[in-house]
Symmetry: C2
Subunit: 453 residues, 2 copies
Amino acid sequence: MAHSAIDHFLQENLEAYLQETLRLCAQPSVSATGEGVVACAALVEEILQNHGFETWKIEGYGNPVIVGRAAGRSERTLLFYNHYDVQPPEPLELWDSPPFAPQIRDGKLFARGAKDDKGEFVARLAAVDAVRAAHGGALPCGVLFVVEGNEEVGSPGIARFVQDHLDLLHCHGALWEEGGLDFEGYPGTSLGRRGILAVELEVETLSRDAHSGSAHLLPSAAWRMVRVLASLKDENERILIPGFYDDVKPIAELDLELLRRLPDIEPYLRETFGLRGFVGGLSGFELKKAVFNPTCNIQGITTGYQGPGTKTVIPAKASAKLDFRLVPDQNPTDILQKLRAHLDAEGFTDVRITHSDYMFPYKAHPDHPLVRLAAQAAEEVYQKPYRLIPLNGGSSPAYAFAGPLGIPVIDAGVGFGIENRTHAPNENVRIQDFLNAARHIGRIVDGFAALET
Amino acid sequence: MAHSAIDHFLQENLEAYLQETLRLCAQPSVSATGEGVVACAALVEEILQNHGFETWKIEGYGNPVIVGRAAGRSERTLLFYNHYDVQPPEPLELWDSPPFAPQIRDGKLFARGAKDDKGEFVARLAAVDAVRAAHGGALPCGVLFVVEGNEEVGSPGIARFVQDHLDLLHCHGALWEEGGLDFEGYPGTSLGRRGILAVELEVETLSRDAHSGSAHLLPSAAWRMVRVLASLKDENERILIPGFYDDVKPIAELDLELLRRLPDIEPYLRETFGLRGFVGGLSGFELKKAVFNPTCNIQGITTGYQGPGTKTVIPAKASAKLDFRLVPDQNPTDILQKLRAHLDAEGFTDVRITHSDYMFPYKAHPDHPLVRLAAQAAEEVYQKPYRLIPLNGGSSPAYAFAGPLGIPVIDAGVGFGIENRTHAPNENVRIQDFLNAARHIGRIVDGFAALET
């Protein structure tokens, strides 16, 4: 049976894939600073070629995007999205071994990128090799890799890259960069992510800060920004921008059912964040459902004097960074227009929107065959139920593939991930999790050709 | 006649007083950093002794307070408040000559402290010497100098210093540190200052910042602070703290009359601050009267991410610095209690007031004989009417002398002051203004003994 052949191959060749992970992690590739990214792109291309992939290095979307393609017996093709760039390794003094001198100890591989996302990438290559070996040297389905180099700086070019390469990227389903153990060690995935509209608002009421002894005369930018923000959301968390909720879909019955099955995360959140209570005083099932509420978050406010002590100034300028998390089928460009219209209607014509970026919401159907395949495979590997989260509160550029390519994307449920210290010092992956991830992915590649979609 | 003898003495001895100013300004005395303050206190004491004053160096209230006393033929005593500390001189590169290497050029004396407040102090010494000379070597009234060293850091110890030295400071009237030409070059004074209550508010909703993908779950300190601030003042500038206006006195008829006589500062403010409009849309006489409105100003807000671009965080903490400017007879300690009660009543029991400091409002009567004497003297020296401003929007520790000593204080109308670049690079005083200030002050010292109070 193919599954045991896959497992056998992976167990036998584990050391080689760990060495490959070490080699890739030894190459810095910090997109925030540019350190090593060009060399890392070349290394990724070489590695894909070594594993039998035809490759393309595509420029013009930030750091090079590396595409790898391997044909299969079926025309059906599975796309893997990964990235070769990493977060900056600082603060260096908190690492027990240097971030770009990877080291295996205590059953774990330590390096910047060990988890996010170089380890995940190599685990997938291992899975593909294992499936190929289990099928006598030929893949049962086509496999496409898209390995980009700007993920840690927000993937600014990826949506345009997809739009420009629809033929090259033609496929029937995709697995996003990572996955798939939750805080209790259960495998699972979210079926979608909320969209996001991030904006920066600025207002200037004076050409320079004034003495607060004139506060009865001179208009304050700080007060004006408080008024602007207060106009956006009421005290019951209802967003007051006219038309904001127009495109919000009701929660489907099946999603409600999935929400009911989810574990109770209240104790975990209470402890992690020292909470006195949740937003809106919600608890229980109401709190689980709240992910289907769009939000308006203040990322930060900048105005006036922020040093020690007192400074008697009237701030001339104020700015606020906001993000709106959007649910299906809200459209961030539409919400941006409605925000501007709201500001104008409230008399805040002097408040400028100086920056905006966005991602669309995206959600797969819980009954999609690819979801069922990932669930089945995970339950076989982990011997635990695969938990389906109907919607994740965050956002990802997975929508940029799902929409234009017309495919389902399993956004965060295939790979490894628990206590990995992602983005932090001593990032690591347990060898056993690496192996299990490859076994899980191998089963999905093995079964993908036969899916009825 | 005494006035012409005073003027003659000052003209003859001007060079010596300028040299004394240069010597005093050459001694750094930056209270914010401590640079040179001890040496400067000693120099001030020496200078006072050189001018015939008995002196006290009083410790325990921050940098030493130097008191100088000279008896007069009358028991009536006039107090001069001055300070020997200066603002930091930075940015140094914007000075045409070094801040502590004083220089006379183009009819001006350039140095840090030339205006604020070393030049003012020496001009007063010159005036006292001139009066003494004009009266055959004996002062007609007693003169007290209080020269402190913490003015530029908010005079934190001065109120307690006065309370502890009521006997030493016994006097019948006081002139505050500076004066006296307004933006159009007219002499004048404000008859009082608003009080101030400065507070810092802090709120913490999470033990650390969280990802904004959880904004439907986790309470935001930024939003909470926006709600707190919005609860303090309505959109018509009415402060919503219960009882806030209880002790506000109506504007007296005489003060309304003085307000009517004041020049129109709207064009000046519009140009200086690039205004589109004034607070509350006020103009004309309503705008002049607004100084009698207490205010609630936001000095600054600190919360969340303030760097470039976007960071998807829910801020765990938020703080805001506020100042309330208070009018007679509001009491800042009473307002602080009312603010706390308001926060509690609104459910903001978790919002802490982490810092507070304050000054009381103070206002002299426009018909007080000392005010009339200062006006008469100024009109003789400047040949222009002395402008009386019933209330200045700012605050000063003059109240700390006026109340406990039971005396009128002319807060800002005796001395020099126009285009002096106070607190800025190239601080300077025009020699002619220095001389005129000494002539004005000499007339006040000359006439003080005979005042009917």
